[in-house]
Symmetry: C2
């Protein structure tokens, strides 16, 4: 599939800086000649693009996560693809790599492996181990995030109760299953009946709560966790987190992994006075960024791959076909339209 290249590359660019939830008109697809790899570089053809809530932050004028996009810039985003031309000594045509190479059909990589915040470092992907799409999901950064944020911050012990928000997402669905493997009782918060059915029916979560339809979330949490909550794997922030905070057990832990409740907001609505809760229950709350664990990522991938082989964990992907549908897939992630990992498939 790599012998004959089209003439032109396509890229998703930020056409307008979005206000709040991005609209389709905030994106544009532009064409440009496929670049030529220089000596020491390779050309990668994307097979899957990864749609991640975190991409939204880079579209703000000011971000907590380093450099932001200017209008006209290619969207920051991860992809997995095949090397279709190589002038790099370590990579040959047909190899697969994953990296933050931007939302485009063809991307140049210099083979850098530095995978810090939004650095374009790549990692090899072995298609014999698992479908290459998993390198963007359960065996990629979402998997590494779930593994370390759960085991290094939430530290669930057997018999404890763990609450997972955004429980049917790529990260939350895995975090909850790992918590089950650790012997914890797992309560998942999500937004649709389909997702509830999946996490409780297939993934083995003990309780599922639809936070959109539950009139009194605190009462539902009290019922689901009569001995209070020992750990909260927090993907969402905002009011949901404030409610959960009111039912945390002594010496409980909160991993701040995502803040999706405000990633499509233009303002920063204030939060509940949290300090008294954290103090009286001696709660530990810690912010998590996966890149801090990059040097231990293989440890996570090996463990997750092992559980997959043993049938102890399952995963799902929500796949949209066609490069032109990438912006819609991103907006869908922002509004909870996905179950499991949201991907854009470019090559079947």
């Amino acid at each position: 599939m790599s012998s004959r290249l089209p003439n032109m590359n396509r890229k998703v660019v930020m056409a307008n800086r979005p206000v709040g939830l991005p609209k389709l008109s905030d994106f544009a697809i532009v064409e440009a000649p496929i670049p030529e790899p220089k000596n020491g570089e390779m050309l990668v053809r994307a097979h899957y693009l990864s749609a991640d809530p975190l991409q939204r932050y880079r579209m703000d004028a000011v971000s907590g996560y380093g450099k932001v996009l200017a209008e006209g810039d290619v969207l920051k985003g991860r992809l997995v693809g095949e090397v279709v031309q190589s002038r790099h000594p370590d990579y040959k045509v047909g190899d697969f790599v994953e990296g933050m190479l931007g939302w485009q059909e063809y991307a140049i990589s210099d083979g850098s492996t530095k995978r810090a915040e939004y650095a374009p470092g790549i990692a090899r992907v072995d298609p014999k181990i698992a479908p290459i799409s998993t390198s963007l999901g359960i065996l990629g950064f979402p998997g590494v995030t779930a593994y370390f944020a759960l085991l290094e911050i939430c530290k669930p012990k057997a018999g404890e109760t763990v609450v997972i928000s955004s429980a049917a997402g790529a990260v939350g669905s895995l975090a909850g299953q790992i918590a089950k493997i650790m012997g914890a009782r797992v309560v998942g918060l999500t937004s649709t009946q389909d997702k509830l059915d999946w996490i409780t029916g297939e993934l083995g979560f003990d309780v599922g709560i639809n936070y959109r339809t539950t009139p009194d979330l605190l009462a539902a949490l009290k019922q689901a966790a009569p001995n209070k909550i020992d750990a909260h794997f927090d993907n969402v922030g905002g009011d949901i987190s404030d409610t959960i905070l009111q039912h945390m057990a002594w010496h409980s832990r909160i991993a701040l992994v995502g803040n999706m409740s405000r990633s499509d907001k233009t303002d920063r609505p204030p939060r509940m006075e949290y300090q008294q809760y954290l103090m009286s229950s001696r709660v530990l709350m810690q912010g998590f960024i996966v890149y801090d664990y990059e040097d231990r990522a293989d440890e996570a991938r090996r463990a997750i791959a092992g559980w997959l082989r043993e049938g102890k964990i399952k995963y799902r992907e929500t796949v949209v076909d066609g490069f032109e549908n990438a912006p819609a897939a991103f907006i869908s992630v922002m509004t909870g339209g996905n179950i499991g990992k949201q991907l854009v498939r470019l090559v079947k």
Copy 2:
């Protein structure tokens, strides 16, 4: 001084549940016969009462800290005093003990040593080691609090920058000095020139900031901590904490030790959207209650006593004489009137 007792005991009671900052009229001093120790009990005559901001919480109708006071109840509070009658096998007249025995001149103890949240457990005090007043301050719970909250949560390393709020209080002034011993750079926030002079002139804090007179606290923090803040020993909460949070370094630590900014408030004003800051800088924030370290308290007391002997740390006490002045001393602590530990002296 124990051979002839007066007939009557005096107690500080909560006359009215305070709204916001307590007023003198919220307290009353009542008399009652001095109780007789039963078999297994002892009668303790208070020499010093301890005025602590935490007492305020118990005066609310609902508290994060267990049982609350009813109108007419004796104020919860610590004292150090002398055993003046004993029917307890392990204590004799003339022994000194410290404990949560309530704000009264004479108190009964059954010798329980359980020192959990507001439990009346006592500890022996050896007047040969240090003045007995220190059992309420630098060698008491404030000292143990400073020691463990700093070393177990803030974990200052040499060369790091530590910010201490309420830096001239009993806890903050010691925490800052221990941070200096650990080789950290220490920035103290306090409210008067006297306090600034003390913490920077005598205690060796590197920078003092008067948060009441500094027009732009964030700018002052940026100047005081050009490499950002590695640890925040948080005694105050509220707007000051929110400002400090905006200048925390990657992988920094925040020990939530006190929430004085709101302990005299009737409402719970919301807090800044903190999650993005905690996440992007991977901050650890943890609530601290000293009772969790009760079984290790001697470790702290030995270390602090050693530093005192070596002249590495200093302490101050703000002493008010006379039982009738106890309510005013408490109100003074709530408004920052003290330097170091606030005490009420009953026996000279």
